[in-house]
Symmetry: C2
Subunit: 319 residues, 2 copies
């Protein structure tokens, strides 16, 4: 018998669906267009059909243990997606209940960064750890906190929002409505904003001067820095300094064993890790210094969001 | 039979010792001078004798369930006091082991702010809550985080240090060796520093101009503000604005149901609560707004540190 959990990663454009075994191997996967369904019931039916088709492909000895879903604004306690800003269906979507009725198996939902944190704990570099922070650096900055072996959900199910802590109350405008949020500096979008700030402030020549804001991406900035471009290098210093400063606050709050960085910006390697670690240590009170590891995620591939979502089920069954 | 737990509050000058029942009533208490003992063994013997004497006073049907200790730098995991800066005995003091051997009962140690948090949960205004933050405003700013019904200890046993998060990296010098820590602004000492800053910056007359830094205390600033003193009022605005800003970070990290303020500064009531709550809400991303209560502690009396320490035992026995 092949024991599997379904993992679903709901994005604004695409929904990725996969079957994952207990060891974190993605056995089958597919994708549907999130935007192709006018009604949420039709969207749900398409996801349910996709899971059934994947199970058939896997063979008759496969056993589905449950469905885990990662989605922005996914609420673990209520099993719903609430007031999503990137989906067309408004209000509250009771997705866990819909899956439970359809499959008669546990369905658990959480936000995408919490799912990534569980994925890191169940399959990745946080195996065996009970206290760690997961930072996902994508278009925004997501984070999931694991404390005492459990995902930190908080009273309203929305804990672990490092991305919207304040760097500077008069700082950059954020999609959330505030100013100066960490994710306006530290994310794929944030680092592009920093390139433009530095190009505006400084006189140095830079290969980035020829690229429009829309065309610019983290890979280009990384490659420029590796070629010695001064502005690109400063850009990582600037980003790491801010990330380290805010990680220091999270460290004294939660005292983790390690912090994992996931996503495109983390793939810049030493360019981002070195200034981040330096700044974090400088901003820590001495009692906390040289205790917390800052490490790359062990889930560095495209399947990570599916793996993270599926890990909700293994975590649930192990309790 | 009267079931009691001993609670010990170790301060740099005095050590307060009491017997507390399950309902949080302080039945007997005494105090010894922390500084009167050259050797830690003699200090320990004096504490043990005090507990035995209090038990005798209570009568032969009293049952001791254990000894809880609150102390700066108390480590819950190791049961030790590590590198204390306010005690004369250096290095690591294995106090839990010493009490366990002497009484053959559980002995648990934690830092004073964590003890206060447990006290709030077991006896105070956090009864029934599973997610809350306790902020103790004394000479410094201590904090204890309760997440998912458990004290957040972290990987090294030192979580919940809100007082040493950074307000301003170029800010006030802190005893911890850093600059700009929250407790240099928000504490009995911090607000005195703020009075002096405002007196330096502004021209307004103020009754506080006649008081030396050494003589100044929170009560004087509170009374002046209540009499309409502009500098004293600004001082609470300034302090609340900074506290609210950093509470907002702690809220998005941990998503608590409530935050409790304890200690002299909290007794200033609306003077400190109003600007703190306003600033916290302004600094929260909209998803978190109007969800978290900021409340006075239910342990507003001199016995609170003993109660907090004793609650470690009831918490332990309930697991």
């Amino acid at each position: 018998m092949t024991q599997v959990a379904a993992g679903i990663d709901i994005g604004g454009t695409n929904t990725k669906i996969g079957l994952v075994n207990r060891e974190g191997k993605l056995l089958k996967h597919t994708s549907i267009e999130t935007t192709a369904y006018l009604e949420v019931d039709d969207y749900f039916a398409a996801m349910a059909k996709a899971i059934k088709d994947l199970m058939s492909d896997l063979g008759s000895d496969a056993v589905l243990n449950g469905v885990g879903v990662g989605a922005a604004n996914g609420n673990y306690y209520t099993g719903t997606i609430d007031r999503s800003t990137n989906l067309r269906w408004k209000g509250t979507i009771p997705l866990a209940e819909m899956f439970q009725k359809s499959f008669n198996k546990p369905c658990l939902i959480t936000n995408d960064a919490n799912a990534a944190a569980l994925g890191e704990m169940i399959y990745g570099n946080a195996k065996g750890m009970k206290d760690f922070l997961m930072i996902t650096l994508g278009t925004g900055l997501g984070s999931g906190f694991v404390c005492n072996g459990q995902l930190l959900n908080g009273h309203h199910g929305i804990a672990g929002e490092l991305g919207h802590t304040t760097v500077n109350i008069n700082g950059r405008y954020c999609n959330c409505g505030k100013r100066g949020c960490l994710e306006t500096y530290v994310s794929a979008t944030g680092i592009r904003r920093t390139v433009y700030k530095l190009l505006a402030d400084h006189l140095e020549p830079s290969e980035l001067r020829g690229i429009s804001f829309e065309d610019l991406n983290t890979k280009m900035i990384t490659d420029a820095a590796l070629r010695g471009d001064i502005v690109a290098k400063q850009c990582f210093e600037y980003t790491g300094r801010i990330l380290g400063m805010k990680l220091a606050d999270a460290v004294v709050h939660t005292d983790p064993e390690a912090i994992f960085l996931f996503g495109g910006l983390a793939q810049a390697g030493e360019l981002i890790f070195t200034p981040t670690i330096r700044s974090m240590e400088e901003n820590l009170m001495p009692l906390f210094r040289n205790k917390v590891k800052v490490l790359p995620s062990g889930l560095q591939n495209q399947a990570a969001p599916i793996l993270g979502a599926s890990s909700l089920i293994w975590d649930h069954l192990s309790r």
